[in-house]
Assembly symmetry: D2
Homo-oligomer: 489 residues x 4
């Protein structure tokens, strides 16, 4: 599998937090797998490494296809899609975790298990925080794991459940599991959706013709022309059949929800609706809040494309400083060109971006980016902007300092690699060599996300562990591996 | 070569005029082909179907690699690039013409010829308007053509020239050729650049270390860190060696220049500098002119991404109406998904775009697009916008009505397929079903492009044949095939 | 995976019994996987569909590569072989069973399981006759099967064993298994070999430098320059380490051995030594016995190449009739050419064979073939021979009539498809339209295989179920599916 | 194009003379290209590197496909064959010459030229001995060569001919050409075949239904069920149409024919008929002559498979010593396995052959091979035979010592690499370390080829330059490059 087949998701994807998965499923429509392919295509931003689809038809049984690379490059071939017949289908796109070894196709979901009462397939978005312990226990009892994925625990727990139907086995399994999970699963007749009690990762329900769809985000309902019905609630399980419709239950102990606030900042697509709010509008509003919190005199507001654009538009609008395209993104990104012998400065960045020199020259520029993770890309962009003749460079960041790793389904560097874990805002400003650097405050972010009073420190409305270090679920496996939680205050 | 390997250049590339080529060359740098690969990557928007690179090294001779697909997918492999050694190299990216049969690798440039005094390779951007006649004459005399490309005539004319050196043979050849051409060529020691007397297509000169570069656009100089020196002049020929520098001559009869104005509107990248002007700034200014020429009361200015964005920003700025991202582009475009049995309305468009429903709903929307060609896409976008609940839709087009085909290196539909060839502005408005539709005037476009007095009707400063039907070079082959020119007024 | 990548193993492989597997393993040599690749290449005749290799190195852990197609096309690539480091490695080549659906990579062995005391990989040649029942039982208890292969039962039985080391777990597992098995397995430190109590399938031990090898046949020891030490005995288990050498045990209840006699007739390579006998010599001797049992006046003895050649040589020698190459095999076999519109008679056969017309014309020809399965190919060859002008055609078959399917690791058609299951020798002769047809007798075959007294009817020295219908292990799964065993006499 | 896709033609193909081409064409049959694919498959032994097919249909024009690799791997795909419609088609298989650089697809025939009266395609078997001079002259006049092939001169000479129809242009062209050629060509309506005046390379005519076929060998007529009509005569040109049948002419000055005698020894398939003789029978008779000329006491006659087998059968028959399969060929040859760290002696040979140890042990073995070129393989085989315990090894070679390179379409090493160019028979025997070594005499070879009186020294009946150094056509280009011809006696 050549590297060139994995064009990067984002110009600086090695300096971003990365959502690890998107899930999608439909029931009650002819050739369901074709809908799933479209849905996964719309969720491609949630995972570019690989994708898989499982379908079921009474005369063909369960069929599965898992492939590395983009949905558009694999699940568009007639010859492949014909192997996935039936009116019931689920799919998954994934991003590999940073630390893992070379990806193996056996790590690509959905995972499938044949039980005595029939088969089941599952697709999981999130991360199981006690997976290591569960895995040890299951192996001890004779389960054979086929992947290195934490998600595989769920299907083994189901295989060993004493329940006599698959939804009940899934309840059994998920009650043993800790962490964040939005699961889409299927049996021969049922489409199943579950969200963990905190509702960390998104999952929505749509209606398409006589059938139903489950999706990580509403933008994937749009692509297949499905109507957005509602979000699956935190802790809710829905079991859907074409004939019987949606049966809802709440198998877990209720808890206050803690949806991932970074979905608003960066992970979700701006045209999705989350928690009743437009992601685009939230991001634009972050720009407005930033302009209020950290104003600066300047000539031009630019975005680091594309994720910084809505906040930049909001900043420009609030500040009255004109918005312009100071950085142009190459639409045909690639990151593996062979470096010519004569060194090209910042070649990696140049492959993805170019400065609009004529616009930038002589101007005081406000650059709006969504986040600072390692800071390596921010430095390079600053250099390019200055090389192009900018008079001043002011960074405005649409999220608070990212100081803690996420253990709920997001690929984050180790804590010591996070710039904000070791430096104050001033030190970062100096480190990046910019004229000013300001992050939005946690309260500002909550306000932009619709919480007029800001963050409720006693019982935060969102999971913001990456900013606050307050983890709503104890990361058990990581603590066993030596991770130090923030000292209680 | 599967279809999936050709992701489209632009969300609506089947409803756009398409530049057919980009050319690039360097001399005097180690591993020149690696620089050419980078340059072609930056010019990928000028041709996505295929690319080719030729290099020369004294101990390895001429070597060539021509491939279908993106530069990033082919010319990034160590194993391939190692077959292209040397300090002198040229390359080409191309788009196939609409009417041609299935593309053949033999149509991919650069073309190469071995002459008695050594080999030469050429890469051509533009179109030869008397190629059919030249081809017939050359075949009659015993030349064997290997491709269906008009550009191959040049190398055969060179082969038959009685001149004793290759630059002189190229002069001989290009004097026989009519039409538009920006050529980058190479011998064993020289890098050669030529522009036709009208200078229809762009070509610029850059300096990199001790060496030199020729490129269709300045953005490709930026990617390799080369300094932009100047444009090659219309009718100029430069012969460059690493040691001797740039020798300039003007082998053709001088004429007033007629640069392609559509390069400003759409073909060139916004971060390129053309004719001393920023393409981005011209486009933004088009939006300003549009807002003056065709104002309308509305709540929101949106762009059809990405090419309409600078003009939309300009329109918003001039009109005071807020700019917003009403249409979100899928970053992982694809166009060949299998249509599920239950019809999805406007599926082709949905694969590429989604409406930002929360932003659009209830609003009077101004939609800025760069051009209207067939109009098919405009209709679909209008439908999506209305489905999402917009109150009104007003189209503002950043170019005059495209009523005539281009014969100078751009892929245009036949005249009868051009919406503006058969309908007035009002008819188009009705046909598209929008609340209003306005194109920028030809004078407005010229003003935005820096001609304060607008278009000089007696002697237009640009080639605008696609708008005006006034062809600066008679399209001889097309007339022979029955094309009717506009009656003289 | 295009069909063209699976050139057939034998010119008439759709009309042959097919051995389903070959196994190979080495311990105690640097880069063990390279030796395994060579060994599998020498065993390719035992399975052409797919191959797999697992290796272990202390610093790299277990690594695995499984591929469709020939060993020479996959396991010769530096980039792949570098992923298989270590001094301990096993491998497997396989043929798919006739009835199975499109092959899946997950059915390709070796199979791997991670247990609490470490990982193990197994490669299995043979067939488990109670696999269906075992599978049901294991699923009932929560095992998740990944393949459709009977061999996977072994690794799940091992996973559930209460023994604390892997060789003991393998004993546990194999005691639950019925049928034929020659297994090569590995842990992090040990190479393990086992043969079932009847010793139906072959397995031999070799010495290479300071290390050891296990192989289905001796010809694969030759290719790596290993010395043939001895056969693994029926019912024997060997556990081999680089330091400790070979530890032998006999974990099963002893039984008289029943080696597959068809290994002598067709499966094994003629240059292998089996049971102390040269396969080539046995086959030549079959020809001698045939000439004695079924002489006929003729001008020429020919073989159906290549497997009939040794018997043809023996027949010619014994009868005094000259041996000649009457049928020439195409060395570049293929079976999927597109049939031209004008029908070519016997096109399938012509792709593989051509008659040596000049030699055949006017002659009375004895044609020696190894077996008659469906008889379809025999008919076509007869036609080609007669078309070429032969005066008479006499078939002499180097095995008794194949009247019963094999359930011990050989791909045979259903009983009703076997020509000999429904016709007498005379009827077959008439059906094939030949001048005479004679099979070697069962006693003659045993004599040729070294049993001077012929077959011991009370306690046959070999498994000859395909000829006699006497199955030494009850085919439990098949009986459950309705297979009728021969009535006891 | 990975190496693994080129499995070798013959176990020791790096130590053999290699025929460089096979040609085939049909006219007057529906879907002619499918017949050509079959014919080329039957001629694959004449060239394994690449193949090409051109077809013509009135509504589709000329179409062409050229591919590296085996015919069976390329021209069996429906999708490819559908691009080659029409009732007229020609094809070519080729072997690259030893000295050439990495093969390029542009060197793969048929070559095509568009002339003013229509297109023509040609496929050439042989070698043009004045190609360098012709090429220089053509380039001087403005022809552009696309390949490094000598054969391309023919199409350029045709392009420049003043004749008004293509067959006449071909006559013009071939009269300028020196050397050996059997050409199959096609226009839009005609299939054309030509042999050079000496008739060095073969070409035969066949009848298939209402149509006609031309082929290098009769074995390719057999595969498509065509009837062998006659050989094309030396110096003959046939122009064939579906309606008008075969028109014959003799455009060259008549000369006594000099067919390549090595076609009998090795190049042609044993089931072909050449010059009215069975190739198999000639080879068998060589063995008979060898047994008479060079008898030796021994226990066993073996062939180096597969090409030595007919002569070994003849030797065994004449000498009364039994024939046996002492060397077993691996049917799945490969030559690129990665050598394990611990050296395997003669690994290259082991991948292709294995000694039948049980048969060889203790015996005095006569080994019959077709030729000795470099001698490297002979040494290795001798070592393997002795390692296996043979008592004596006697080589008998079915051709005279190969002491001179061929310049007529055969790939031979430079003269100094030919063992027989520098050593006497005795020295070679010592060099190879065998108990005896004997080559057949030139007269013996001629007798076996049907010349009862042996070779006519004044006017040899065959071309035997590789044995005698007497070149019937002066190798002009090679002499210019410094090749020293044998001094006149």
């Amino acid at each position: 599998m050549s590297e060139a087949q994995f064009p990067p998701a984002h110009p600086f994807d090695d300096d971003k937090l990365k959502e690890e998965c998107g899930v999608f499923g439909v029931v009650g429509v002819t050739d369901a797998a074709n809908f799933v392919a479209l849905g996964l295509h719309a969720l491609q931003h949630r995972g570019q490494e690989a994708g898989g689809i499982v379908s079921y038809a009474p005369d063909a049984g369960f069929n599965s296809a898992r492939r590395f690379g983009y949905v558009r490059d694999n699940f568009t071939k007639q010859s492949l899609m014909e192997t996935l017949p039936g009116a019931l289908s689920i799919g998954h796109v994934r991003y590999s975790t940073a630390g893992s070894k070379a990806a193996a196709i056996r790590d690509v979901q959905p995972f499938f298990g044949e039980f005595s009462m029939g088969g089941a397939a599952i697709a999981h978005n999130g991360n199981i925080t006690n997976a290591d312990a569960l895995r040890r226990e299951l192996i001890e009892r004779g389960s054979i794991f086929q992947s290195s994925s934490d998600s595989e625990c769920i299907i083994h727990l189901m295989a060993r459940s004493l329940q006599r139907n698959i939804p009940s086995r899934m309840e059994d399994a998920l009650r043993r599991v800790e962490g964040a999970f939005s699961v889409v699963a299927m049996t021969r007749t049922k489409l199943i959706g579950v969200r963990d009690p905190l509702g960390v990762r998104p999952l929505v329900l749509g209606k398409i013709g006589d059938g139903w769809a489950l999706s990580s985000e509403t933008c994937a309902l749009d692509i297949i022309g499905a109507e957005f019905v509602r979000e699956i609630e935190p802790g809710e399980m829905v079991v859907i059949t074409a004939e019987g419709g949606v049966e809802s239950s709440h198998p877990f102990r209720p808890q206050p929800s803690r949806f991932c606030i970074f979905e608003h900042v960066y992970f979700s697509r701006p045209d999705s609706i989350i928690g009743g709010r437009s992601v685009y509008e939230t991001r634009r509003q972050i720009g407005v809040e930033l302009a209020r919190e950290a104003p600066v005199e300047a000539d031009l507001v630019c975005a680091v494309p594309d994720s910084g654009t809505p906040a930049a538009i909001g900043f420009a609008h609030e500040s009255g400083i004109p918005f312009g395209m100071g950085i142009i993104r190459n639409q045909y990104m690639g990151r593996t060109f062979i470096e010519p012998t004569e060194q090209i400065r910042n070649m990696g960045v140049r492959l993805k971006l170019n400065v609009n020199r004529a616009l930038i020259r002589g101007k005081r520029v406000i650059l709006v980016d969504d986040s600072v993770v390692r800071g390596t890309t921010s430095r390079k962009i600053k250099e390019m902007i200055l090389d192009a003749g900018a008079a001043e460079v002011h960074f405005r960041i649409a999220s608070p300092p990212t100081a803690w790793p996420c253990f709920y389904g997001v690929d984050t560097p180790q804590r010591e690699k996070l710039l904000a874990a070791t430096m104050s805002e001033d030190e970062m400003c100096q480190h990046l060599g910019v004229d000013s650097l300001k992050f939005i405050s946690l309260d500002g972010l909550y306000r932009a996300a619709g919480e007029a009073e800001g963050r409720n420190a006693k019982c935060p409305q969102y999971c913001d562990a990456c900013f606050s270090g307050e983890y709503p679920v104890k990361p058990a496996d990581m603590i066993e591996k030596g991770f130090q939680m923030k000292a209680a205050e």
